[in-house]
């Protein structure tokens, strides 16, 4: 059962599950898992593909009409490097969409907020649809919105950690005040994490490691698909309140003589 669609820039997606291409044991399993997930936006690290080679293993397996490629700038450390990477990907992959990732820290791969904001502004001016991967920082999200990004992608936990929504309180604030789609990226380790993000009101989630390193990536792709749909349905259906109505202890409205 499909839920409501999501539009980013000029594209409309039926699936609110975005996926990645790293860490799979081989490209065929990657392809089958992504198809099982019904994901329509798949991020691919520019550093991992040979974009000039028509026979590139990853790109060949992603060649499907329902799959839209989202090149990412993973590996760059500065705004200037990110802009250069985006320009290369636009030329090679014929898309002006870019997932902006700038993480100078090789251990935790945490995004650099200052370089990301700088790069986002330059890329928007250069006509890119910019999807920035960032820490769950509500102020940074608004600053990015101000420079014209098409969505924000705050992390739930360190990338690849599978720890879930450790940034829950900040994600709530970001979702509440965002004028652009919020896609929770990084840290989602199980379908229940994805469902939780969608129940919270996230517009989409991006999942890679949790699918790629499971014992059965194809089944896991399906599980994530169902979880994202369930979470979105629950969000639209409005969750029941988690607590009872407050009980009056000493009347504050008695002066009204009701």
């Amino acid at each position: 059962m499909k839920t409501d669609n999501l539009t980013i820039a000029d594209k409309t997606f039926q699936s609110r599950l975005f996926t990645g291409t790293g860490k799979f044991s081989n490209s065929k399993i990657m392809r089958d898992a992504i198809r099982a997930s019904e994901s329509e936006l798949v991020t691919v690290a520019l550093k991992r593909v040979n974009a000039t080679d028509l026979g590139d293993d990853i790109l060949t397996h992603l060649n499907h009409p329902s799959i839209h490629l989202l090149p990412n700038t993973s590996g760059v450390r500065t705004a200037e490097e990110a802009v250069f990477a985006a320009q290369l990907s636009r030329e090679a992959l014929h898309t002006n969409w870019v997932k902006l990732e700038i993480h100078p820290d090789p251990k935790y791969l945490l995004p650099d907020p200052i370089e990301t904001l700088k790069a986002a502004e330059m890329l928007v001016k250069a006509g890119f649809v910019v999807m920035p991967y960032i820490h769950a920082d509500p102020v940074l999200c608004k600053r990015l919105e101000d420079v014209g990004v098409q969505c924000v992608m705050p992390l739930g936990a360190p990338i690849g950690s599978n720890k879930g929504l450790k940034t829950l309180d900040f994600l709530e604030i970001i979702i509440a005040q965002s004028n652009v789609p919020v896609i929770v990226d990084a840290g989602i380790g199980s379908p229940s994490h994805a469902a939780q993000a969608m129940e919270l009101g996230a517009d989409a989630v991006l999942v890679n490691t949790a699918i790629a390193v499971s014992q059965n990536p194809i089944a896991m792709g399906t599980a994530f698909k169902l979880a994202v749909e369930a979470g979105r349905l629950a969000y639209n259906a409005k969750l029941a309140p988690p607590k009872n109505t407050a009980e009056a202890s000493s009347p504050l409205t008695s002066f009204l003589n009701l």
Binding site: A176, P241, T245, A246, A248, S249, L252, F255
Partner: protein, 370 residues
């Protein structure tokens, strides 16, 4: 960056009103049980179905206000600079057709009035004028702000809507906040109550907070004039307006005021009565919608009402106010814009606040930062 007009145009007044009146007790209970509430919850909380839950709403409103603002309440004083006005507003004592003596304060008169307010302890001042562009236009306001800037930490205005560059000019001179009420979001009723003058342009007034947001103002005060149309629909559209602005101009703070139509010389009877109970419900509903929103109360309301509402969600309040130019010292008997209800002195009022365990905050801004 979308303007609120685009948002408002997607709504129909009658359908909105109907959806508010269709809310059920279950909708109210659901809204009361949530931590974060949306505009559908707000509709439930202002609906007739919420009436039996007023005490619960008040309890939660008090708790949320204490959590966010603590046991404090900010004091401000309005100062009317002029009663000249080129608008016809059916409900206002300053209306152009109302044959009253007109006056605009001179520099010396302004300083006499501010000296009185300073002696009472006020450090946050609200400058008010009618809408007379030639006499109290942007240059007059710029001059007035420069004249009193050293005396007050926080200068707010409630005057005719201005263009973005005019707001930018006043902000550069030390202006902190602007209050601008749409009066009613019902287009036809708005036209009926504002038949003449620049104010009759519904869309220009509606766009004012957007211009303020773009100009980079610190705070925008919103509100409707309750009594012109159904208060439930008007307050919903005010909340919708607030939410749009909050998302778009995220560096700006917001406050909400709750003026009810008051008697004045040659006045208009309210079309729709808003009872004390309705007003409490509305104030609590706004607090439950947003725990950070500043909620402001004027001396339009009675002593009894104000004594209780300060513990229910209000965070800033005036006292001993005069709504006529020169009303504090210069010319106490000039005609008021409307009658106030609570005439207690500042000393008496703040004593009451302290007896309720509230800290009276006089200064909460530093204008030298600008």
């Amino acid at each position: 960056m979308s303007h609120f007009k685009t948002v408002l145009d997607a709504y129909n007044w009658d359908d909105t009103l109907q959806s508010i009146y269709n809310k059920t007790a279950e909708d109210v209970k659901r809204a009361l049980g949530k931590d974060k509430r949306d505009l559908e919850d707000f509709k439930a909380l202002i609906s007739p179905a919420a009436k039996p839950y007023l005490e619960s709403m008040a309890q939660q409103s008090q708790q949320l206000t204490k959590k966010r603002f603590g046991n404090t309440i900010q004091m401000y004083a309005p100062m009317y600079l002029s009663n000249e006005c080129q608008n016809i507003c059916t409900y206002c004592g300053f209306s152009m057709t109302n044959k009253i003596p007109r006056r605009t304060l001179t520099d010396a008169e302004i300083l006499k009035e501010t000296a009185f307010l300073k002696s009472k302890g006020y450090d946050h001042i609200l400058l008010v004028t009618g809408e007379a562009n030639r006499t109290v236009g942007v240059q007059y306001l710029k001059h007035a702000i420069a004249l009193i800037r050293s005396q007050f930490s926080n200068i707010t205005i409630e005057v005719q809507p201005l263009d973005q560059d005019e707001y930018e000019l006043l902000i550069s001179q030390g202006l902190y906040a602007v209050l601008v009420y749409q009066e009613t979001y019902h287009r036809d009723a708005y036209k009926k109550h504002h038949p003449k003058g620049k104010k009759s342009n519904f869309d220009y007034r509606l766009d004012t907070p957007d211009r303020l947001g773009k100009a980079g103002i610190h705070k925008i005060g919103l509100g409707s004039l309750y009594g012109l149309e159904d208060w439930r629909a008007d307050s919903f559209f005010t909340a919708l307006h607030f939410k749009h602005l909050q998302k778009t101009y995220w560096k700006t703070k917001y406050s909400m005021s709750f003026p009810r139509l008051r008697p004045f010389s040659g006045g208009l009877e309210p079309k729709v009565e808003m009872t004390d109970s309705d007003l409490v419900q509305l104030i609590c509903a706004f607090r439950l919608l947003d725990e950070d929103l500043e909620l402001s109360m004027s001396t339009r309301e009675s002593e009894v009402f104000r004594d209780h509402i300060v513990n229910l969600g209000i965070t800033s309040i005036s006292a001993e106010s005069k709504t006529n130019p020169g009303g504090y010292v210069v010319e106490k008997q000039s005609l008021e814009q409307f009658e106030i209800s609570d005439e207690r002195s500042t000393e008496s009022f703040t004593k009451m606040l302290k007896s309720k365990g509230l800290e009276v905050v006089w200064k909460d801004w530093e204008n030298n930062w600008q």
